[in-house]
């Protein structure tokens, strides 16, 4: 053999497979599948394919609960991304994906490659990306390390998205000490496609050729998928070489070349080389096509000599795609890729052997049956433990609620996110109707009057307080974001960020929250069409359970938004009843310093009918603006509205002062002409030219508009001024 690698015997005797992430039982199963001990390359391939990141071995049972079909769903989970019909032979393709672990050790590249990876998922379906979103979690910005992470992640997201030329139109961020040392970086991409262009990652037709295109393979990111499936620790620093390096310039050329290739009738299948690179793309394509595949790895374009088959198969070099094309047409594709100044090569062919066979200079380095490799990944059902509810009652009536208001509004969780989103090009493509700042992103579909509303949202403190009902609320929050634009919610994607499944409480959170989410998806008619799971998010402690929902909606004719402007004199309505709901609220964390486990409540039927009613009123022009009430309750929502629009507020509410900060579900602030009879609504005041005044039964918040604006605008910048 050309490469000096541990023998089968040594891998077995010294249990070298455990270093790659395989357990003894999993290794035993590999031996059964092969009928012999695996060699070094084969052991590496099984270990990445069976990592949590690629196989969802701990989360599969939960993902099965989600409704995945619906009238408009053209393609559900299983391919690179979900596809949903938007009429006129057009569809949208979207998915959210995590890049948490890489971002923890190398924030710029971790985030940049997260964006690059999700873009390739969308492009490999044949769609042109029209919008990017991101959902971020960090520890509090009082810690220097968290400021470093925020700076790095934001510039990494911008560095990739700005260069490739896709607008970043929406996002969300939350700061909580549970994310110290373990930030969450979830990136979402939305693309548009014609129905007849939808591609599948499949390898079919014996003799058809396998083409590699994109960056030359290097030794970067080897075992990245395995790294992503471990807890972070002191040693994680040494895993920095497991972090991939993004090259958005090549990514842009690859995107255009891929979209060109998709127009060629000789293309059989295409898949991006993401997690586990060449291994997962080749194995999954062969499995979907029910074919075998032979790869001649000495043909792979490489950055340096001496890269072994093992390293090649496990490398996560970015900006690469794998194509299967009709035999005899390979030169046409190679020539096309030359025109884009991209490296490409024929590296193999589809076979009828049902095996993945790897050769290097005539020697065989792996011979693995395809189906068991991708289908027989172990599935683990563990035992969760419900910690029950805490013994606690809430009474904030004696607190200084005016001070609490200032503290909340000046906290990065509630203040303006301008510091972040102004680093992202949000208008390239000239179709951005609504960008980051207040509410969902809205992007018009090129050449039409249709537009896509897109949002990404997470409410981890609610999920921590009550995993089952909190899970419902996360979906409901995204639903509220979408109907607030006037769009019809179509479908969603989810990114499940949790701690170790081997921790019984984390496992319970995963179990109960996904049950809640599934129920909400059914009632709100938003099936799950794609998703991603990130477990083992533990560093100094376990993160709050953070399911993140990306949702898209369709606006049939976006022109209704022209000339709609809220202004002084408009009335303010509160829609929905307010309850003393403080479990997981911002006020609870601020005053009590902790989040307690208490039941939360949501009525999904009311959620749905209320949302649809408001949406109709917005489209008909009866109301001008819908703003869902979230973190910090009514008081914070009104302050954000005032600051963003530079308008005063004069409102009076028949409730206790603490209720202004309550955070129960299904509520909105709505702006429109006065005197309207809106179901479930109370008219609470008017917008004014200046001054912010919100009165309750026992306390009043009164500030100048400038004070509100400055506090809100300064929330993040005031943390970022120190020289780190």
């Amino acid at each position: 053999m050309k490469f000096n690698e541990p023998t089968e015997q040594r891998i077995k005797d010294d249990k070298l497979y455990t270093e790659m992430g395989l357990t003894d039982a999993e290794y035993k199963h590999v031996v059964e599948i092969l009928g012999r001990e695996p060699n070094y390359t084969e052991t590496g391939i099984f270990s990445v394919m069976w990592s949590e990141h690629c196989s969802y071995k701990h989360s599969k049972p939960f993902l099965g609960q989600f409704p995945t079909s619906g009238e408009r769903v053209l393609m559900g989970p299983g391919e690179g991304a979900g596809v949903v019909d938007i009429g006129d032979n057009q569809a949208i393709v979207f998915k959210v994906e995590s890049h948490n672990h890489p971002s923890a050790v190398e924030p710029y590249q971790g985030a940049a490659t997260g964006v690059g990876g999700i873009i390739r998922d969308i492009v490999s379906m044949g769609a042109r990306p029209i919008g990017l979103l991101n959902s971020l979690r960090f520890g509090e910005l009082s810690e220097a390390n968290n400021r470093w992470l925020l700076r790095g992640v934001v510039s990494g997201i911008g560095g990739y998205g700005n260069c490739i030329g896709i607008p970043t139109v929406s996002g969300e961020v939350e700061f909580d000490s549970s994310y110290d040392g373990n930030p969450l970086v979830n990136a979402m991409c939305v693309g548009v496609i014609d129905h007849d262009q939808i591609q599948k990652g499949t390898a079919k037709g014996v003799g058809n050729k396998v083409i590699y295109v994109g960056l030359k393979t290097g030794r970067d990111g080897i075992h990245g998928a395995t790294f992503a499936s471990e807890e972070l620790s002191e040693e994680s620093e040494s895993k920095r070489p497991s972090v991939q390096i993004g090259d958005p310039f090549t990514g842009k050329k690859l995107m255009e070349a891929t979209l060109d290739a998709i127009n060629q009738p000789e293309l059989v299948g295409i898949q991006d080389m993401g997690a586990a690179g060449l291994t997962s793309s080749s194995a999954e394509m062969a499995a979907k096509g029910e074919s075998g595949m032979a790869l001649y790895l000495d043909q792979v374009p490489v950055r340096e000599d001496g890269i072994s088959p093992y390293e090649m198969m496990l490398s996560e070099t970015q900006e690469r795609m794998l194509l299967v094309v009709k035999d005899g047409t390979e030169d046409k594709f190679l020539k096309m890729f030359d025109g884009y100044e991209l490296d490409s090569a024929v590296i193999g062919e589809v076979t009828d052997s049902d095996r993945l066979e790897l050769f290097y200079e005539g020697e065989k380095y792996a011979d693995i049956p395809v189906q068991p490799l991708s289908d027989e990944a172990p599935v683990y059902v563990l035992e969760g433990k419900n910690p029950g509810v805490d013994d606690k009652t809430y009474d904030y009536s004696k607190e200084d609620l005016n001070a609490a208001f200032d503290a909340l509004l000046s906290h990065p969780n509630h203040g303006s996110k301008r510091y972040i989103y102004e680093q992202y090009d949000n208008q390239v493509g000239s179709n951005t109707v609504q960008k980051s700042g207040f509410g969902s992103g809205i992007v018009r579909v090129e050449g039409t009057d249709k537009a896509i509303a897109m949002t990404v949202d997470g409410k981890s403190r609610y999920v921590y307080a009550d995993p089952f009902n909190g899970g419902k609320e996360v979906v409901a929050q995204a639903f509220r974001d979408i109907i607030s634009t006037g769009a019809l919610p179509l479908a969603m994607t989810d990114c499940l960020n949790y701690g170790s499944p081997e921790n019984p409480e984390s496992y319970h959170q995963l179990d109960a929250s996904t049950r809640g989410m599934a129920e909400a998806c059914r009632t709100l008619s938003t099936p799950v069409v794609s998703g991603n799971v990130s477990l083992y998010n533990e560093s100094k402690g376990t993160i709050l359970p953070t399911p993140v929902i990306g949702m898209v909606g369709l606006i049939e004719d976006v022109r209704f938004m022209e000339d709609v402007q809220i202004q002084a004199g408009d009335s303010i309505y509160l829609v929905g009843e307010t309850h003393k709901s403080f479990a997981g609220s911002q006020l609870e964390k601020l005053i009590d310093g902790d989040i307690s486990k208490q039941e939360r409540h949501i009525d999904l039927e009311i959620e749905y009918s209320r949302g649809m009613d408001l949406r109709d009123r917005l489209k008909n022009g009866g109301i001008k603006k819908i703003a869902p009430i979230g973190r910090g309750g009514i008081a914070i929502k009104l302050a954000q509205l005032a600051a963003f629009h530079h308008l005063g507020v004069d409102a009076s509410l028949d409730m206790d002062g603490e209720d202004l900060f309550a955070e129960n579900a299904s509520r909105y602030i709505v702006i429109g002409a006065g005197g309207q009879d809106i179901e479930g609504a109370v008219e609470i005041g008017v917008l004014t030219e200046d001054a912010f005044k919100v009165a309750s039964r026992d306390m009043t918040i009164e500030r100048s508009l400038d004070a509100i604006s400055n506090t809100w605008e300064g929330a993040i910048p005031k943390c970022m001024t120190s020289v780190d």
């Binding site: 510039s155 700005n162 310039f249 090549t250 842009k252 992202y424 090009d425 208008q427 000239s430």
Partner: protein, 225 residues
């Protein structure tokens, strides 16, 4: 008027630029950077983006691309040549416009709507705007700080070559400069994006006149005589 929209690898506002000139009544084609002739075109548009990934220095690689010689010839022939964002950076690298674009003072990428003043509306690009008219164009750049030496700056002022200024300087540009023209008045470079400001629905339609002027170049030219 038929325009060549130059496409470098990494250009990403090429489609926006093409749509903008088509919408304004002009004709346009994409032209690959490997072309060496711009025969048959009455003007040149250099779009924004990250040509050659901004590797080495923004605009530096594009400035030595095969098509560059033809761009210089078009400029010397008096045809309208406009570079927006990365296009402006390329024009300064080629030397068709003086000065250079360096990193924003904030050292971050800045993307937002910016208020600008049209400081010279007596150019064929800006005729139709009122003197000192305030307009809103989006900006989106990391290297938009316009830099030049005293001599160049004095010449720009003396010749009325400064056409657009920021009202609230976002990047540290000398003299708040957002856009300039060459002495002959047929080469325009600007960091803000007028091609993203053609519809009120998207936030602003203040950019229309610039493209309409280019699409009707002769009329615009006559207007300022």
């Amino acid at each position: 008027m038929k325009f060549a929209v130059i496409r470098f690898p990494g250009s990403n506002c090429d489609r926006d630029m093409l749509n903008a000139i088509l919408k304004s009544g002009g004709e346009a084609d994409y032209v690959d950077y490997r072309e060496t002739s711009l025969e048959g075109y009455d003007g040149v548009l250099i779009p924004g983006g990250f040509s050659f990934g901004d590797y080495l220095r923004s605009g530096a690689m594009a400035a030595v691309a095969p098509v560059t010689k033809a761009i210089v010839e078009a400029a010397e022939a008096g045809k309208p040549v406009a570079g927006i964002c990365n296009g402006f950076q390329i024009l300064t690298e080629i030397g068709l416009l003086p000065g250079a674009l360096i990193f924003n003072d904030t050292h971050t990428f800045i993307s937002r709507d910016e208020t600008l003043k049209v400081t010279n509306s007596r150019t064929a690009f800006t005729t139709g705007y009122q003197p000192d008219e305030t307009v809103t164009f989006p900006i989106a750049h990391g290297e938009g700080h316009y830099y030049c030496d005293d001599e160049t700056y004095d010449a720009l002022k003396r010749n009325n070559q400064i056409v657009l200024k920021y009202t609230d300087n976002p990047n540290g540009s000398r003299g708040d400069i957002a856009g300039i023209i060459n002495e002959a008045g047929n080469v325009l470079g600007m960091m803000p994006h007028p091609e993203r400001a053609l519809e009120a629905l998207l936030g602003s339609d203040d950019g229309k006149k610039i493209f309409e002027n280019m699409a009707n170049w002769e009329a615009a030219h006559n207007e300022i005589q």
